[in-house]
């Protein structure tokens, strides 16, 4: 590994500033939220959810098995008739109420999100929770305006939606899926990821408190097997999944030949492209945010960096200097930039890819930040001297590992950026407007950011090309996967 002493190293260190946990309430044991109440799982089995920053157990969570999934789907089916027939503005009212309740308890949600998932409190506080509330606010507004969303067509709900969400943005992904489904009159069985179930279960409390009719939202917990039960359940009309491409492919096979509709938001290996005419310093900062945001556990993370050769040395030096200022550690510390890796399993995956990168002859660079002894940690990592043929350039790592390549011309970089089975996002850094428009036409990605990265908004659709999935979430487009037309 190459070492470089940063001539601009900081000396003034910030004393820990942990967010207080006094105000949060976590039960020792969480049951399944079915038909408006928390009930014990049929076989009375529970599993642990742990804090990835210190390996301590936070709570026990019910394991839903086939009878429980049955029960949840049945509750959703029973609630569908009333909920879909409800006056649309009444539906909107409940969704607004959920949004406001999230806002009121934003601090508690932020702390629990960081405790359970390992992401820095700055992110859960400033990004995850406010965006989740925004999604509910936004889709509440659509509930009674669907005739304007789909002019001259009569949009009808699909029925019962099975929604399976990932562990990287637990509450936010729940909001992305629940809000449009509810606004369009569907009922829901939602399963959070097994490593991060707590904010979804807190959301279940809010949903119960909102007074929404029983059975409209059911939240059940479990691992992949529970998810498979949902996917294969005969009385579900719609599957919406966010997660890995491997599981996405399994789901697509499983629903083939059934009338189930499906939305998949899968992996990515998104390209971030820096041209010589970019505002280099801001581009460097953007690259940092693009790959190290949420420890790189972001499906649209800018995990491949392409730098125009004329500025490559400058950019790489600035990247290394900037990386050395990143604070890695306690997710609850307000000064933390990079938190804990979500699970032991994911840490192993990332470490394995780092090994592969080294074995393939990539030049690794890591900052010499001190990592805590307990918990799951990975130092921010760069790989240089790579080509399209390297495995760490081709496969999604889902961690704080950036694969860097250089390029000479715009057509060369377009070809390389598109030379991947994925197509979720891309970033373009140049001060030339014409170049931005040219690239937005050429790059095959669902989202293209110009001179910024990882910006999300409830009004803006999000989704992929190719093996990054299909269907869109967010914005007007996000309504369509939950309706059929008469």
């Amino acid at each position: 590994m190459t070492k470089r002493k940063n001539p601009f190293a900081a000396s003034w260190t910030y004393e820990p500033a942990p967010e207080s946990t006094d105000h949060i309430q976590i039960k020792k044991k969480y049951d399944l939220f079915i038909n408006g109440e928390f009930i014990k799982p049929q076989n009375n089995k529970y599993f642990e959810t742990v804090n990835p920053a210190n390996d301590e157990k936070i709570a026990e969570v019910a394991l839903a098995e086939s009878e429980d999934v049955n029960k949840a789907v049945k509750a959703a089916r029973n609630a569908f008739k009333g909920w879909s027939a409800l006056e649309p503005k009444e539906r909107g009212k409940y969704i607004y109420r959920i949004a406001r309740l999230i806002q009121e308890r934003a601090r508690e949600f932020a702390v629990i999100e960081s405790l359970d998932g390992g992401k820095p409190i700055r992110e859960s506080r400033d990004i995850d929770i406010p965006l989740a509330a925004n999604h509910f606010f936004y889709y509440a507004g659509w509930a009674d305006k669907l005739e304007y969303a789909f002019p001259n067509r009569k949009a009808k709900p699909l029925g019962v939606a099975g929604q399976i969400i990932p562990w990287n943005f637990p509450l936010l992904m729940a909001a992305w899926k629940l809000a449009p489904a509810l606004a369009t009159g569907n009922t829901v069985v939602l399963k959070p990821a097994e490593t991060t179930p707590l904010t979804a279960l807190k959301l279940a409390e809010i949903i119960r408190d909102s007074g929404i009719p029983k059975g409209v939202v059911n939240i059940i917990t479990g691992a992949g097997k529970t998810g498979a039960e949902i996917v294969n359940h005969p009385d579900i009309d719609k599957i919406s999944f966010t997660g890995s491409t491997a599981v996405g492919k399994y789901i697509q096979k499983a629903v083939a030949g059934t009338p189930k509709k499906i939305t998949l938001e899968l992996g990515g290996k998104s390209a971030n492209i820096i041209f010589e005419d970019a505002a280099i310093d801001q581009a460097v900062n953007g690259v940092i945010d693009a790959i190290f945001f949420n420890q790189g556990h972001v499906c649209c993370a800018g995990s491949r960096l392409f730098i125009q050769e004329s500025v490559a040395d400058t950019v790489i030096q600035k990247l290394k200097d900037r990386m050395s200022t990143l604070i890695v550690g306690d997710p609850l510390d307000k000064n933390t930039d990079i938190g804990a890796i979500n699970s032991k399993r994911q840490l192993k995956t990332i470490e394995n890819y780092i090994k592969i990168g080294i074995n393939e002859g990539g030049e690794i660079y890591q900052t010499d930040c001190k990592l805590p002894k307990k918990g799951n940690w990975c130092a921010p990592t760069l790989f240089l001297n790579l080509s399209q043929s390297h495995k760490i350039v081709q496969e999604e790592i889902f961690g704080p590992v950036l694969a860097i390549q250089t390029f000479r011309t715009i057509d060369e970089v377009v070809e390389k950026a598109n030379n991947t089975p994925y197509g979720l996002a891309a970033g373009v850094w140049t001060q030339k407007g014409a170049k931005i428009f040219y690239l937005t036409q050429k790059l095959k990605a669902g989202v293209i950011w110009a001179n910024t990265f990882n910006k999300f908004d409830a009004t803006s659709p999000f989704g992929g090309y190719k093996e990054s999935g299909f269907g869109r979430e967010g914005g007007l487009h996000g309504l369509k996967p939950y309706v059929k037309f008469e």
Partner: protein, 298 residues
Amino acid sequence: MLTDLSKIPTYDTLGVQERVERFQKRSIKKSSKTEGLRKILSMIDLTTLEGKDTRGKVEQLCYKAMHPHDALPELPTVAAICVYPSMVGVAKNALKGSSIHVASVATAFPSGQSSLKVKLDDTRFAVNEGADEVDMVISRGKFLSGDYNFVFDEIAAVKEACGKAHLKVILETGELETLDNVRKASEIAIQSGADFIKTSTGKIQPAATLPVTYVMLDTIKDHYLKTGKMIGMKPAGGISTSKLALNYLVMLNEVLGEKWMNKNYFRFGASSLANDVLMQLVKSETGFYQSANYFSKD
């Protein structure tokens, strides 16, 4: 010789704002806060730049500079007193025996709208009176009309007139409009011999801002990488609270780092900041905020 300014880096305003917001989100508490506040106090150029300045006013300010708050022992003194050239002699005399520098604005401050001869005379007068540091203004009109060589030559001439005195070059960023212009002016100032670059006169709004200071720090960083020479930075005007000053210090810490974290390379140009810093320091000592009446106003 001025280098080709068409080759200097460009800035994305939104990107710079985003970066600056992250500095503002750092939570500085307890001992790191005390350490930061003491640093800030030691970096202040205590300033009075008014037409109504008198000998009495300047002498009082100098005493305050040497005795920021005697109730708190072992406080650092401020870095310098900043006055008009006519008050340099008074300040020099009042500060005798202390290590506090006297900085003088010069070169037809604050507008700079005069002849080179007048500006050089102004500078020499200040230096002859005993100024350790000269804060000059650039000709913004010439800069905005693209006459960069004029600006370069003028700064070089003033630098020569300064002799041993340190030269701070005020860009008056509030009149330069864009961050790219701030970068360009910073390049010109550094290349023509500035020891420090400074944001503002304090007479024009906006004065110092975090984004503008960020661009200037970035210029200093690039200059160091290219030449190995360290240039100092002085944001001035509008920094009146400890909280904001700590934001600046965090930015300095994370952009330029340890070597710049001292009064030789960083200054705050401010008049009311010192008392707010003192109030915070007393609070960290005693746990209570004291009334402003307990802090001397000079």
